[in-house]
């Protein structure tokens, strides 16, 4: 168990000033004082100011490249009136006292904007009260600045360290006054990320870099057809490989099912990998050769498109209105399975110790979810588990799915020593989980040159259903709320509209991938709105503005039109396309310009606009949006994941190509300062990219693309 003493030790604090706990669950954060006398493990020490003036923040959001190690301390530093480099960060360890700790759903700033600021403001007020008492003046005569409380009109000051001990004895103000945004010095301003130097010098330590004494390495042979049973193992050649220690049966535990596997254990990972290549495992694959097929799956999706789905929402009698409408269209939009393919393959070091405690070093998106999964799998209590979250070499959703880590747990328990599991790229690509392949069956009609009827039938495997076993057969996927619901899209169809759903199940494992379903259904929604605009004889921008009522959506589109020079006359063979999508509380729109080139098109430029409300660092908003442009284009024009005869057809980057620098177009990002509550930044830029490209290609060539991915050099 972590005692306060140990906690302080691990955070390198030798003296104790005062600590504030803040629950990130609550919308209105509850602040608790942790005084030395009553310290209890149930109290969450988020923020500690010691008598030397050191400020430590327990950061509840792992950094996978999205910038949480800057964003979260910025919230504190702003209210506490200290510079960013004064805040030392300790990554949270998954214990319940730190609340929600998963980097996902573009939630870090959205969730912590208020609670961390409130904690910082409360600490500031307590320090001011303490100083005022010492000077025997009113608090209004004192102010915080740069780690000190100063007395107005004098040269007197106390450092936070000098005040910390006495401040810790005060009642915590429950409604401290937050700074007015116009007074922000850090939030909303450009600041360099302090973690960048270590990321350009090779010093940053990722999961794959973790080493502990006595550790052995494992490379794992997974079932090629994902769920096959082991028929036989011939490890004679494996055991001849220098460095190989043993070959053991193990298992891959996904949230919804388990697979059999074989691990090669060695003194170094190269030897383990060589041993793996020499291992001959015969598999009993049952029917998977026939059933595990992406073609079969998509055939089922297209069959489902011919039938009624389960209604998620309906306004008016869509079917009747559609049947009687004179100007209508219908089409299907397809998106493939995709691999997350973070450049750091999944890996973990786990030590199941003799006393039954477990220590973990791993690149995971959420130590809280890791704790939940490890406790359930290993049948232990949280106090028996210590999780050291490392930096993540990319994740995009993959590293919140803990099959790889549970493999290391299983092996360490079996071998009674620390085990480091590293998946190969081939494991990563052929085993999944993947973004699900999806189909959008679209119907719509226009009346008097206006889009007035719209139906989006979302079809495919449900993440909620497969991962959480949380979807009833007669239920529409609840995650559609934040995706294609008319509440989210903000589109108003005056005659009738419908959002429906059909769950087509698959044995291919699926999970959230950057922007989740929005990356699938944004394609159907935004290309089809373009088709309807064309049917109505309207400019795609005007057609959208007519059916949007929300001022923020309109502002985003109008800003995009201005920045991308939407109305300019283009030379023959060029075209522009746009799309807008709201996800994770942010509205993003993109305009892409393409020009015809031989039998295909070239992407000339991408202009992206985002309204994410209040944000921490404009440069990071831009960086994330740039990343979303690249990942969104990659998803549109590079490779999908397919399964044929039971096995994944793509094994490495030669078959699952990612966009490279020579293919990356010019890009421009514009942020709208709406002053709205913070929205997400890590994902919302992605959903409009593929449809903006599809719409641009239609504008340039007259060719409507409805299936992703496609070959941009051959728009036949």
């Amino acid at each position: 168990m972590t005692s306060r003493r140990n906690f302080l030790k691990t955070t390198s604090l030798t003296t104790f000033g005062f600590a504030l706990g803040v629950s990130s669950f609550a919308k209105d954060a509850v602040l608790k004082k942790i005084s030395p006398a009553i310290i209890s493990l149930e109290i969450n020490p988020f923020i500690i100011i010691d008598t030397a003036g050191n400020i430590t923040l327990v950061n509840p959001r792992p950094d996978m490249g999205q910038g949480s190690t800057q964003a979260v301390p910025s919230l504190l530093a702003e209210e506490l009136e200290v510079s960013l480099e004064k805040v030392k960060i300790v990554q949270s360890d998954g214990k319940g006292k730190y609340g929600d700790q998963t980097s996902g759903g573009s939630s870090s700033v959205r969730a912590l904007w208020q609670p961390i600021r409130k904690a910082g403001a409360a600490a500031r007020e307590m320090l001011i009260q303490t100083a005022a008492k010492r000077w025997n003046v009113s608090v209004s005569e004192c102010f915080a600045q740069d780690g000190k409380i100063l007395l107005r009109g004098s040269d007197k000051s106390f450092t936070y360290g000098e005040l910390a001990d006495d401040a810790s004895k005060l009642e915590i103000p429950q409604n401290p006054k937050l700074k007015d945004p116009k007074d922000f010095k850090i939030l909303g301003k450009y600041n360099k990320r302090l973690d960048v130097p270590e990321r350009v010098t090779g010093k940053a330590a990722y999961g794959i870099d973790a080493e502990v004494p006595g550790m052995v390495y494992a490379s794992i042979v997974h079932s090629p057809m994902l769920h096959g049973k082991i028929a036989s193992i011939d490890d004679a050649d494996t055991k001849k490989v220098a460095g190989v220690l043993q070959v053991v049966r193990t298992e891959r535990t996904m949230p919804h099912r388990k697979s059999e596997a074989v691990a090669v254990i060695a003194t170094n990972w190269w030897a383990a990998l060589k041993g793996k290549k020499a291992l001959k495992v015969q598999w009993d694959n049952g029917d998977y050769e026939k059933t595990l097929s992406s073609e079969k799956y998509f055939t089922e999706l297209y069959e489902a498109a011919k039938k009624e789905g389960i209604n998620y929402e309906e306004k008016g009698d869509f079917a009747a209105k559609y049947a009687s409408s004179k100007q209508k269209i219908e089409s299907n939009y397809e998106t493939p399975f995709l691999s997350h393919a973070p450049i750091e393959p999944v890996n973990a070091v786990v030590h199941v110790k003799d006393d039954g405690t477990i220590e973990i070093w791993a690149p995971v998106q959420g130590p809280d979810w890791t704790m939940r999964d490890v406790c359930a799998y290993m049948n232990v209590k949280p106090e028996q588990v210590k999780i050291n979250v490392t930096l993540l070499g990319g994740a995009f959703g993959r590293k919140a799915y803990h099959d790889f880590l549970l493999e290391a747990c299983h092996l360490s328990k079996e071998l009674k020593k620390p085990v480091k599991v590293i998946w190969t790229r081939e494991d990563d690509m052929t085993q999944g989980p993947y973004r699900p392949g999806m189909l959008s069956h679209m119907q719509g009609f226009v009346e008097n040159n206006k889009i007035t009827g719209f139906h989006h039938h979302a079809i495919g495997e449900s993440i909620v259903g497969q991962v959480f076993k949380g979807l009833k057969d007669d239920e529409a996927d609840p995650w559609l709320t934040g995706e294609i619901s008319t509440e989210n899209s903000n589109y108003h169809f005056s005659t009738a509209s419908k959002i429906s759903w059909t769950n087509v199940k698959t044995d291919i494992p699926v999970v959230w991938w950057r922007s989740v379903y929005a990356s699938n259904f944004g394609w159907g929604q935004e290309c089809f709105i373009d088709e309807l605009a064309h049917l109505a004889g309207k400019d795609p921008l005007q057609a959208r503005l007519e059916i949007l009522s929300d001022a923020r959506f309109k502002k985003v589109l109008e800003t995009l039109a201005e920045k991308a020079n939407w109305s300019e006359k283009l030379p023959v063979g060029q075209g522009k396309g746009l799309a807008v999508f709201k996800s994770f509380d942010s509205i993003s729109a993109a305009c892409i310009t393409v020009s015809k080139k031989e039998s295909g098109v070239k992407i000339e430029k991408v202009v992206s606009v985002i309204d994410c409300g209040y944000y921490v660092n404009p440069d990071n908003v831009k960086a994330q949006t740039e990343g979303n442009i690249v990942m969104g284009l990659t998803a549109a024009i590079k490779d999908g994941i397919t399964f044929t005869n039971g096995v994944c057809d793509q094994t490495n980057f030669h078959q699952f190509n990612l966009m490279r620098i020579n293919e990356t177009p010019k890009m421009e990002i514009h942020i709208i300062d709406s002053g709205a509550n913070p929205g997400g930044v890590g994902e919302p830029g992605l959903p409009p990219i593929a449809p903006a490209l599809g719409n641009a290609i239609f504008a340039a060539t007259g060719k409507r693309i409805r299936k992703l991915p496609f070959d941009i050099s051959n728009i036949a």
């Binding site: 010098t201 090779g202 990722y206 170094n268 070499g393 990343g627 990612l658």
Partner: protein, 162 residues
């Protein structure tokens, strides 16, 4: 097993490993330099890029037995000569990295580019850098940072590095 005497970042390193072990794993697990990364194991992603006698190579596809005895190996830890290389400075100025995992490889490719082409065009950059994948999508900043480093180097008259 066989003994290999290497020069990594101007330091002598002696390792006793299998001759077919890729240089990547020798550097990471035997020389203890973790800045060079594993990404694909088939020279498709460039995360493992190091310099062999100044030339960028994919260390995941370079068996240690093929590395000549007197060869000079330079990794991300060795390019700055005790300070930041102009490329690393530009990477910081442009705030290039997101997760940063691929950036050691990106930087090694960029350092090699500037050595042969001190004033690269966009096309030069595309051609020299297209072997390095970045899943976070930092390519636009990589381009800007290389131009910046080239400009900075011109004004300070040195590219640093070896």
């Amino acid at each position: 097993m066989a003994v290999f005497n290497l020069t990594v970042n101007n330091k002598k390193v002696k390792v006793d490993v299998e001759p077919d072990m890729p240089l990547l794993w020798v550097i990471r697990d035997f020389a203890g330099l973790k800045g060079t990364k594993f990404g694909c194991g088939m020279a498709m992603c460039g995360a493992c890029t190091v310099h062999l006698n100044g030339q960028p190579i994919r260390s995941c596809q370079t068996p240690i037995s093929t590395v000549a005895k007197n060869a000079k190996i330079t990794t991300i830890e060795g390019i700055g000569d005790g300070q930041l290389h102009a490329i690393q400075q530009a990477w910081i100025e442009e705030q290039v990295p997101q997760c940063g995992y691929c950036q050691s490889g990106q930087i090694m490719s960029a350092v090699a580019l500037l050595k042969t082409t001190p004033n690269p065009t966009d096309e030069d950059i595309d051609s020299a850098m297209s072997g390095n994948l970045c899943r976070c999508g930092t390519y636009d900043r990589i381009r800007k940072a290389i131009h910046k480093a080239a400009g900075n180097a011109k004004s300070s008259a040195s590219l640093g590095g070896k």
